[in-house]
Symmetry: C2
Subunit: 377 residues, 2 copies
Amino acid sequence: MVGAGQLARMTYQAGISLGISLKLLAERPDDGAALVASDVELGSPDSYDALSSFASSCDVTTFDHELVNAEHLRSLERDGHCIRPSADVVALVQNKRSMRERLDRLGFPVPPYRAVSGLAELLAFAERHGWPTVGKSIRGGYDGRGVWVLEGPDAAESLVQTASGAGIDLLVEAFVPIERELAIVVARRPGGQAVAYPLVETVQRNGICHELLVPARVSPVLAEQARDLGLAIAEAIGVVGILAVELFVAKGRLLVNELAARPHNSGHFSIEGCQTSQFENHLRAVLDWPLGSTDLLAQAVATVNVLGGTESVEPLDQLPEVLSDPGVRIHLYGKQARPGRKLGHVTVLAADLESALSRARRTAAGLVRSSAVEVAS
Amino acid sequence: MVGAGQLARMTYQAGISLGISLKLLAERPDDGAALVASDVELGSPDSYDALSSFASSCDVTTFDHELVNAEHLRSLERDGHCIRPSADVVALVQNKRSMRERLDRLGFPVPPYRAVSGLAELLAFAERHGWPTVGKSIRGGYDGRGVWVLEGPDAAESLVQTASGAGIDLLVEAFVPIERELAIVVARRPGGQAVAYPLVETVQRNGICHELLVPARVSPVLAEQARDLGLAIAEAIGVVGILAVELFVAKGRLLVNELAARPHNSGHFSIEGCQTSQFENHLRAVLDWPLGSTDLLAQAVATVNVLGGTESVEPLDQLPEVLSDPGVRIHLYGKQARPGRKLGHVTVLAADLESALSRARRTAAGLVRSSAVEVAS
């Protein structure tokens, strides 16, 4: 696995059960997964040499992030390395413009969008779809980075200037009135066998995924549509491994927001919440093994991310306190606390979503000694 | 953790979630846990120097087996190291004579027994309690090794000769008509907080634990008695960490068979079957953190061990085949296949015990390509 963050860390854990020797390509020795894994190679995912030597030592190469040079991956594929998901899929998901265009062409519902090469095009788009409008960096954005809500022409002008100075290509999208955010996580094998996880409702704050609620509080019809959409996109783009499809509900309709072709934050509930976690199914998919059941093990599952607070509090030091709730499942990623950094997550299985969520929130807050947010409906 | 077998391997996995840096003292670099852990020291658990240098690098030292010199542990405790469970508890559980005498004195139900120093004492015991009688090595036996069912005086004589030649001290126990074998797994903190896991029914073959059925098919009254017994023994001997109490049901009554003061095979179902696994609770207990819920997550859970067969079949190679049952949870220990060796286990959560057991059996058999045994009631 290229990358050694928390996704690799949790994938590594899943691999231990199956007896899989998961080797990691880590940038730094203190990356979350590098701290716990026995077989770690240090190297940059940007370096062709590092990728090539790494892939040569693996039967299958997969990823915990999309920040890899897709051209390098194409070369590795030409050299006969098994890259899953493929270079094409990685290229697609790391470029918001290609992703939007491809989904649009395939007939999947996306918000109105346009790649803009200057202020005039941006203003013309906003003229047509109204303010505010949403500017996005075509490459490299995640966790809310690379996304700007533009209230009017002044903000647009300033963004275009900054972007042009920094060499950032921009996409602009209509600002849609989001009723809910959802995610459907799918695992797919090379031959096409695929399974979808129960639909997740995600709660974002400042562009960062904060909370997962399962099952999502939507109608069975919408849940079914989301499931079908996730499976159809996975098939259409030919992903292998986990595909997370982030969705908006706007005016009662589903719109595709983002794709991630790797284990994803929105699937973390599956570790305890489902028969088979997204991490295990990612491994099974990229190894072309039969996929595991995604059945939910409780009536309700809530997952809350642990984000570094303003105080420098080490979550590990808070465990003796927060573990006093005997039913909370805590995951710490081995990262040093910094404000806003994802340091871990907490999952609670319960009979109802409200109690699962309030307990997970209390625990996640306790881990960074901030005050828990009340549960809103 | 001293020892790096499968118990350490699964404890290591549990530690990753909590962000615990679990260091291992392994005898060999290819020990199951040493293969997957990042921080492994090589050394013998018999060597005082190895233990002392290892304990010096840890906040708390614990064990994945009992084959440690308890006197060494006493010295380490005197030097101020935190050893959990304590040297006293390790000494107790590694000596079947002390264990029997202690439990007997405390009023816990044990089969009639006697430590014998020669054939005459053994024959006198058998005279009183009848043949067959059971000879046991006072130290070092596990997985059926060190236990002999003696049909009559000839077998007894031959055992006494062999034992005396090998320097083995013997205990003799009345052969009890076993109706069922059970295990109650308890986690206990230094201050006394303790939790019991749901009662397990164990199925042994040739002295090796083969199958776990949860909940055990016994009356609620007996299950409650077993639970109370487990908690009472944990408290009486002052164990810290996991204590597994193996029990017989004979003539409708519970008898204590063996104790293990560490995560134990009979608790493996808890990884997927319970809110908190025995491995996580072992870590929480030895770190003196609040213990996690032991609530069962399904109506029935069955675990079947994967034992090396006579053919040399690698379980890993069978995964693509056996994973076609989407709901089986497989654990492979990273060990090379050898006949009779515990290579892994399979757990199935289901609505009823019979289907859980038959699926777990089929998968476990498939992993070594032997034929599955039919489910008996």
